[in-house]
Assembly symmetry: C2
Homo-oligomer: 157 residues x 2
């Protein structure tokens, strides 16, 4: 298993925990050097907070744990391609690399109200230095959506 | 004074309070119907939270106050054109209209590490229904940056 896959496993585990708690099917893990500084799942419904996507919750936790608003050199695994809010937040935090599994198109297909702007495009247009690596444990990440769709036919957030 | 300008005055007041507390020079106010449901300034440094832009802080407060992740019909005044993170968050919250004063270019000019993607472009590419109204109390909003620059020559966040 690669280091990217190993980090993604943590994000997947968090997403499954989220699903079991009735949350949306997204997870995120952040590592700096050898240390995992944050693991989180989507908390939008639990917190009544539209901004509490997995990546935002993880970034907030990472900043708090590191004591710094900049997470230089950080590697991030997100089960789904970050939406424009999240990829921009990852840019602000100056992370190094973002791995992801499923895509914004996959999320749109199960009913999420996505802005149809690929993360890669946003970073390119915005002239960001964040590296983006798609397709990490893609099938396992897509499985989250299949499981979630089976139990949540309506009201996706 | 128009209703947009009246709401912007609240955002400006919050931004000035933020500056007086050593925070970055941005403010945001949110109104639904006749009720102001959130007013906030940037809290990035105070909270050690890279996501705590004025709009994000205000959205979280508004969701909490309204008890709903969707702020249907909300009017939002932001002293500066929202960055991609913030405009995408405003899309997720399903607000109706966003008024702003100064621009992303103005923020870049005083040293903020902005993604060079105008809010209007992000909404257009992403096929969002959020209305965007520029130039509300523009000079007053730009004045925040001038004041802030005079006292913070380095390390803008």
């Amino acid at each position: 298993m690669t280091e990217a896959e190993s980090l993604m496993q943590l994000a997947l585990k968090a997403a499954w925990e989220g699903i079991s708690q009735g949350q949306s099917p997204f997870g995120c893990a952040i590592r700096i050097g050898r240390k995992v500084v944050a693991v989180a799942h989507n908390h939008v419904l639990a917190s009544t907070d539209i901004t509490a996507h997995a990546e935002i919750v993880a970034l907030r936790e990472a900043c708090r744990n590191v004591g710094n608003i900049h997470l230089t050199g950080a590697l991030v695994a997100s089960t789904c391609e970050p939406c424009p809010m999240c990829i921009a937040a990852l840019h602000w935090a100056r992370v190094e690399t973002v791995y992801y599994g499923s895509t914004i198109d996959d999320a749109t297909a199960i009913g999420f109200n996505e802005l149809t702007l690929p993360a890669k495009e946003l970073l390119r247009i915005g002239k960001s230095n964040v590296n983006l690596v798609p397709g990490v444990l893609k099938q396992e990440c897509q499985q989250l959506f299949q499981e979630w769709r089976a139990s949540h036919a309506y009201h996706p957030y």
